[in-house]
Every structure is written in structure tokens, then in C-alpha cells.
Amino acid sequence: MKIVRSILLVFTIGIISSLALIYFYLIQRDFTKNHREFLILLNNMQRDQSQLNYLILENSIYIYQNQDKIKDKIDELLSECNSLSQSTLLKDTTYKQIDLDFISLKKKVDINLENIENYLMFNAGIKNSLLFLTRHIENSEFLDIKDNHLIIKANHILKHFYNAKKIQDLDYLDKKEFLLKSDSKDKKIQKFIKKFNLHSNFLMNNYPSYLNSVDAILHNNIYDSMIEMNSQFSQLALKDFKALDRFAIILFIIFVLSFSMMIFLLYSYMKKNHTLQITSESLKHSLTYDQLTDLYNRKALEHKLNHISKPTILLINIDGFKNINDIYGNKIGDSLLIKISKLLVLKFSTYNNADIFRLGGDEFGIVFDNIAKENVCDIARNLEIEISKHKFNFNELKLYISVSIVTNNIFPIMENADLTLKLLKQNPTKRVMRYTDELNLKKSVEENMKIVEIIKDAISNDRIIPYFQPIVNLQTLKIEKYEALVRLKLKDGTILSPFKFLEISKKSSHYYEITRIMIEKVIEIAIKYPQYRFSINLSMLDILNEKLISILFRCFNKNLSVVSRIDIELLESEFLEDTDKVQEFIERIHSYGSKILIDDFGSGYSNFSYFSELDIDIVKIDGSIVSEITDNTRKLHILKTIYQFTTEMEMVNIAEYVENREIAIILKDIGVKYAQGYYFSQPLPKPLESDEVTL
């Protein structure tokens, strides 16, 4: 994100600098345009000023001239002056001096124009009089030789006037001698003299003004001022242009920097992106591949199954893999898995319609697309044999393993295969199994689901009930105790045995409920039947379950007066290592005055070692022994031995499965204290009022 922000920032700077460049370009363009226009105008003014000077010069030389030329030139000059005065540059403080210069220049121009007006005004009279005098002398043929001096004098005066005009010097005029004089009485002569003197006088009077006006025009320093202004302006403009140049360079550098930064950032962004891509690819890989074996994983399998029309799976499970891990360590376990995966790859890489998966733990799967089921069975059998014969070498260690293989091509593929594997695992003799609908696996699942529903229903409708089977004292033939057995009453009144629902309930929280209900109800009954003792079944595993134990003792604590008549029958279905906990429990039970029974002794996991560690009060001899003592003398021996042993350990026996009178008599003869079985009574909804039995 940081890099993206940086890119955005640099990008913004780039855009701003580009905009600044454009803005600068526009300013610079305007600036240059203004400068150029200003200079052009100034140059034009210079040109027109010099042309005007030239025209004035021409005017002064020629007797007459088309003065429109002067007028037009003045118009041009004034319009240029006007344009220049409107130039935006002059408003700029940098060009303040130029503005001031221009204002004074404008004044000079105006004065000069006024001078030109005056010059033209005076010049006309001067020229005309000079012309007149010339013409006057020209028309003097009538004069006699004796009046020659008049001509000479007239020419002299005229020459002086011309020279004074040319030299532009008043000193050149003979101020005393510019008039003609004659004593002649000739009227013509006098008239000639009078006319001449009239103009000569006029010239003498007007020459000063005329020469002044000429002088003013000649000595106007407008052109110099213009040149001065031009150079000053150029200097200032040069400074401005240099500043602009610097600014442009700075802008350009910023632009280039931001541009290269952008490229760099984009590059690193792309690089980062590339790393991300690699990471995401490896993540993707790990999503579909198993990390350890690099085979496809379970997810990939699901995907595969969804995308092929006729899948067949080969589900391979390593037997006792947990033991391998436990014995040899996870390292060997992992490397075994890798070796197996290599073996599978080697075997199935030739199949172009097979994909190999590791489904986690010790399970592998081969998925075939469109393959005959007979072939699959063959492949599975061969594979099983091959693996079982394969020697897995881990340095010194050599291992042989066996696998269970399930094949299935019936939807839902995985579910069916898993169920079949479970079934296969229960059968230690079979290694390969094919799923068929006939296995009824699914049905049992459905049934289980149904039973869970039933349990739930029964709990909420108080249909978990205890049944009671009497335990008879063979010596006195009196019922002393009852074993409480859990039953589930269906809606229609049918009573379900625990083996139909208890195992399933253990997989849900309902088991606690059932246990609690049983304890409460048995206590209730025990209150009603104070003449009997009652026993409740718990498994060894239950004792290790703290929640269940706390339920039990909570009930016990509520009914302290009764619980001394409540005994606990412990049933072990698996060998229990932590007997300390169990002994702890037993001691606690004893503190209530209750007794501990060991159930089903003589079969399964129940064994003698218990007696060394656990304070057991009563031993229930397993029905598989009791029911056969009439036919099987070995069993009779076992029974007798148990009796002897327990009696010596000061424990009491209860024989289960007493199904006929014969057995009861043998048991009585041996000395077994209690018996329980169909011969006396099947489990009943409630204890009998009478404790009498007959043998």
C-alpha cells in the first residue's frame, strides 16, 4: 500500500509539474509575444521617427512637397505610440523605468509633432517669400544699368537669406543691410524696392521663429531616447528571459525527477507484485498440493471428484501408522509417507487417467476417471500386496507395513469410501474392500441420525427410564439389590435396549443428560424402596470424564441419606492405565457408603491387576462364564477360581446370566453369594414389592 501511495504522490507531483510546465509555456509564450510586440512597436516607432525626420528634411529642401506623407507618417507614429502605451508589459513593475521612459518619450514625441506643425507653418511663409524674391529679381529686366547695384544688392540679400537657411545660423543675416534703397524717382523702381523690402522684412522677422522651429526638430533626441529605451528594455527582458530559463530548467528537472521516480516506483511495484504473485502461486499450490509429499491434497481431490463424470477412488490407509509414529518418531513417519507417495507415483504415473492424492494423516487416494471396476479391484489387490512386500529402508531401520485399500465408484465417492474404510478397519482379516450399496453403510448412518433424533425426543419427553433387574442372595433367596439398566421408551411404548442408543448418545452431549436422568430416577426409586440397594452402570472412561463425575456427585450430594444404598458398577471396555484416578473416584464413592462393583469380570479387559490397585467391593462374574458352567467344566473351574480368589480378597461375587435353576443350584453350592438373570427375573420397570424368590 505504501508503494501505491508513493506512486500516487509521485504521479500527482508529475501531473502538477506537467501542468506547471504547460502553464509556464503559456506564460512564457505570452511573455515572449508581449516582448516581441513591444520590440516590434518600438522598432517601428524608431523607423517611423527617422522616416519622419527624413520627410521633414525633404520638406525643407524642396520648395514644395506633398505634406500628406508627413501627415501619414505622424498618424502611424501616433498609432504605434498608442499601441505601445497599452502594452501590458509597461504595467509590470519590472518595467517601471521603461514605463517612465516611455511617458517622457511620448511627451517628446508630442512636442516634436507640435514643432513640426510650427515648422510647416513658418516654412511655408519663408519658402514663399524666398520664391517671391527670386521671382522678383527675375522680373527686374526693366531696370537700367545704372540700377545695377540694386540687382547686386538684391541678389546679395537673397543669397544671405538662402545661406542663413542652409547654414541655419541667424548670424549669417546682415541685419542692417537686408533692405533695398534708391533715390530714384522712378515709380517702377520704387515699387520694385517696396515689394522686395516687404518680403525681405518678412523674412527677417520670421527667420528667428523659423530657425528655432527647425532647430527644435533637428535637435530632438527622440531617436536617441528610443534607442536608449530599446537597449534598456532588452537588458531587462534578458533578465526576465534568464529567470524564465531558470524556472523552466527547475520545472523540467522536477518533471524528469518525478518521471524517473515514477518509473522506479512502478518498477519496484511490479517487482513486489511479482513476489506477491509467487507467494500467491505457492499459496495456491499449497491449497491444492500436500506439503509433505507434494501430491494433490484433499481439497484437490474434492475438486477433481466434482469435475469428472465417472470417478473411481482407491482409498489407501496405512495400518497402525500411529504406532509407527509413536515408536520410530514423526521423522520416520513422515519419510515413510514420502516413500509411499513415491511408490504410488511410480506405480500410477503410467496411468494417464489416474491422479494421486494425500488425504491427510495416513490416507492416500487414487482417483481414476472412467475405469472398469474389475480393473480397479485388481489394481487395489496388487497394490496391497506390493506394499506389504515392499521393504522400506530408513538407514539401519527396515520396515514392512500393511495397508487397507477401499475402492468405490458410487456417489458420494468420498463418503462411501470413508465408511467402507471404517468397516474394513474393523475386520483385521480383510485388506481390500469394494464399496457396494449392499454393505448398508449408509443405512446405519441414517439410522444413527434417526436414533439421535429419537434420543433427543425421548429426553425432552421424559422417556429415558431405568429398568431394574433383581439381584438375589442365593443363600437367603431374597432380593437384596437391583441393577438399574437404562431404557428408552419410544412414542409407541416400545422399549429400546441401551445397545441401540447408548453408544450413539456417547457421541453427543445427550449422554450426559441420560446419565443424569438415570442417576436422578434411580435415587427416586431408591427412596421409594428403602429395603433394596441399587447399582448404576458407569464405564471406566466415564469416571475420567469430569463433567459426568460432577453430575454424579451433584446428585449424590442432594440425596445423602439415600446414596449409601446406591452402588456403582464399573465396566471397562479398554485397558485403563491411569488407575489412580479410578481409585480416587472409588474412595470418594466409599465416603458416601456406596460400594464399587466390577462388571463382566472374566472377559474383555477386566483383569486381576485391578484388584491390586482398586478397592473393589463386589465382582460380577461375566455371563459368558456363568451361562456355560453346566456344559463346560473349564468355565466352571474358572468360576470357582474367581470365587475362591475374590472370597480370599474379601470381595463378594454376583453371577450374571443365571438362566436356569441348574446354574443357580451349582452357584449356590459353590457358595456364590448373589445371582442375577432371567431365571429369577428379567429387568423390570420398577422393583418388586416382595423380595421373596424361590429356587
Partner: protein, 312 residues
């Protein structure tokens, strides 16, 4: 001796004659580029008395187009019959004048119009009044909208239209112009008149396209010209003594039509005007013959009546 003097003299004259410039008068161009639409609108305005406060005075009152564009009265009569203070100069070819008014107080025709419009003895109006008045005139409003693209008539549009009309008031194809272009010949007397015109120095001031109107000159350069009263001369603008009695040199085109003459309108005939000018500004006495020839020459300066006056 005399011979040598004469020789010198002749030489001098030759030199002087050689110093004459090119022909100092130029003909009026035959093609006058104007915006006809505007000019026609301007013409209507020029003839419209509503341009004055009391609806009596139009421009044309004092610039009589049938009188060479000038006033036949000594001085102009304007608002409420009041007398103006100077003789109206001709409006014909006014666009060639280097400045407007006798004393050149306006630099161009646009500035010039302000004068008579605002003058209390002429139109006695001002810009605001004019706008108010003319914006009520639907016909004008339509015209102005058509030409200037704005629904409201502005004073500067009125001025612009009138100026455009005035620019159309040129009088080309005078006999003299044709002579200059080599299309016509002058009679001997006319030619002589022109020669005198140049020789005596009239040309010094009366040159250029408008034969005058490109410089200022004192009335009475040579001899003091006595006026009956003080006229608004150049001095009233520049406040310089040297400009006393100085006026813009008037055009000589159509001079035979624009009597009376000079700023004071005292001189009634062209002949008198020629004599007066020769006397006061040149210091010359002209013979009757010379006056006649000069008059004949000046008559050749009458041009064609501006075409715009014929169009509706």
C-alpha cells in the same frame, strides 16, 4: 557683369526649379472602401433632425450636400436659431483631413462628431439623451440591431454610422484628378492657373490629396489679417501666442461650391478669396488675368457628387 549676374541667377533658378518635388497633389481614389449598410444608416442619421434636442437641426443643415458639403451661411445657425462662432467646413472628403475643425481640435471624424452634437448652439444634445431618444425609435432600433447586433442603440454606434457615411462623402473624378491620372487635359488657362498656384507658393500649404488640410497656417502669414472678432483659432487649443489666428489649411476641393470663404465667412466669392490669400498669406498682388486663371484652375477641383447621396 550683368551677364554674369544673370547667369548666376538663371543657374540659381534652375537649381530651385530642380528642387521642386514630385507632383504634390494626389487624386482621390476611385474605390472608396466603406460599409454601405452602415453608411446608409449614417446617411439617415445625418439627415435626421432628431439628432438635436429640439428636432430642428440635422448635420446636413450646416453641411449642405448640395453646397459642396458646407454651409452657405457666414456662420452656422443651429439650436433655437442661435448663431455658431465659425463658418462650417465642408464635410466632403473630410476623411482626408489630418485633423478636424478649423483649429484641429479633433483628431478624427469620430471625435469631431462630439463637437456639434454637444454644442449648445448646434444640436444641443449629449450621448445619453441621444441614446434615450433613439432607443424609442423602432425603425432605427431594428437597423442598429441588424448592423451592430445589439438590441440597444449606443451612442458610439450612432457616431460610427455617421462617420461611415462621412467616409463615403468623397468627390473623385474632378477634372484635375483626371488630368493627374492623364485621363484629361487642362485648358491653357487652367494649366497656367496651376502653374501660378505652384509658382506663387499656394502649393506650399495646399498640397496632398485634399489640397490642403494637412497642416496649420496663420491666416495672414504675410500681412496681418484683421478679424471682426476673436475666432476659436489654434491658440485656443495650444494657448501659444504663436498660434494666434492659426487655422487648419482648408481643402480646396469643390472650393467653387463652398462659398462663403475662410473661417469668418466674410469673403463671398472665390475671386475675392484668391486675392485675399495672395495678399495676406503670400504678399503678392495678382493681376486680373492671374486671378482668372487661378479661378479656372480651382474650378477643375470640383469632383463628382458622392454616390451615396443618390442612393436611398
Amino acid at each position: 557683369m550683368l551677364k554674369s549676374i544673370m547667369l548666376k541667377l538663371i543657374l540659381q533658378i534652375v537649381i530651385i526649379i530642380n528642387l521642386y518635388g514630385n507632383e504634390p497633389i494626389s487624386p482621390i481614389p476611385l474605390h472608396n472602401h466603406i460599409n454601405l449598410e452602415k453608411a446608409i444608416l449614417g446617411k439617415a442619421l445625418f439627415f435626421d433632425t432628431r439628432l438635436s434636442k429640439d428636432n430642428t437641426t440635422a448635420c446636413v443643415n450646416c453641411h449642405d450636400v448640395s453646397h459642396g458639403g458646407a454651409d452657405s451661411n457666414r456662420v452656422s445657425i443651429g439650436f433655437n436659431g442661435k448663431e455658431g462662432n465659425i463658418q462650417s467646413p465642408t464635410v466632403f472628403n473630410a476623411k482626408y483631413n489630418f485633423k478636424q475643425f478649423w483649429n484641429g481640435r479633433a483628431n478624427n471624424l469620430y471625435e469631431q462628431i462630439d463637437g456639434p452634437i454637444n454644442n449648445p448652439v448646434e444640436h444641443n444634445m449629449n450621448a445619453k439623451m441621444l441614446e434615450k431618444k433613439f432607443n424609442k425609435l423602432k425603425k432605427y432600433k431594428r437597423k442598429f440591431l441588424q448592423i451592430y447586433g445589439e438590441p440597444k442603440i449606443k451612442y458610439r454606434y450612432i457616431v460610427d454610422a455617421i462617420v461611415e457615411f462621412e467616409k463615403a462623402l468623397t468627390t473623385p473624378n474632378s477634372k484635375f484628378d483626371k488630368f493627374l491620372r492623364g485621363e484629361d487635359t487642362l485648358t491653357k488657362k487652367e494649366k497656367n492657373g496651376y502653374k501660378l498656384f505652384k509658382q506663387y507658393g499656394c502649393i506650399t500649404c495646399h498640397n496632398g490629396i485634399n489640397i490642403g488640410s494637412n497642416s496649420f497656417q496663420r491666416m495672414g502669414t504675410f500681412l496681418k489679417y484683421k478679424s471682426i472678432k476673436k475666432y476659436p483659432d489654434r491658440e485656443t487649443i495650444t494657448h501659444k501666442k504663436v498660434h494666434n489666428n492659426v487655422f487648419k489649411v482648408p481643402t480646396l476641393r469643390n472650393i467653387n461650391l463652398t462659398a462663403p470663404y475662410f473661417h469668418d465667412g466674410v469673403t463671398k466669392t472665390l475671386k475675392e478669396a484668391i486675392i485675399t490669400m495672395a495678399k495676406y498669406n503670400l504678399g503678392i498682388e495678382l493681376s486680373d488675368e492671374e486671378v482668372k486663371d487661378l479661378t479656372l484652375f480651382l474650378n477643375t477641383l470640383e469632383g463628382e457628387k458622392p454616390k451615396i447621396l443618390d442612393s436611398k
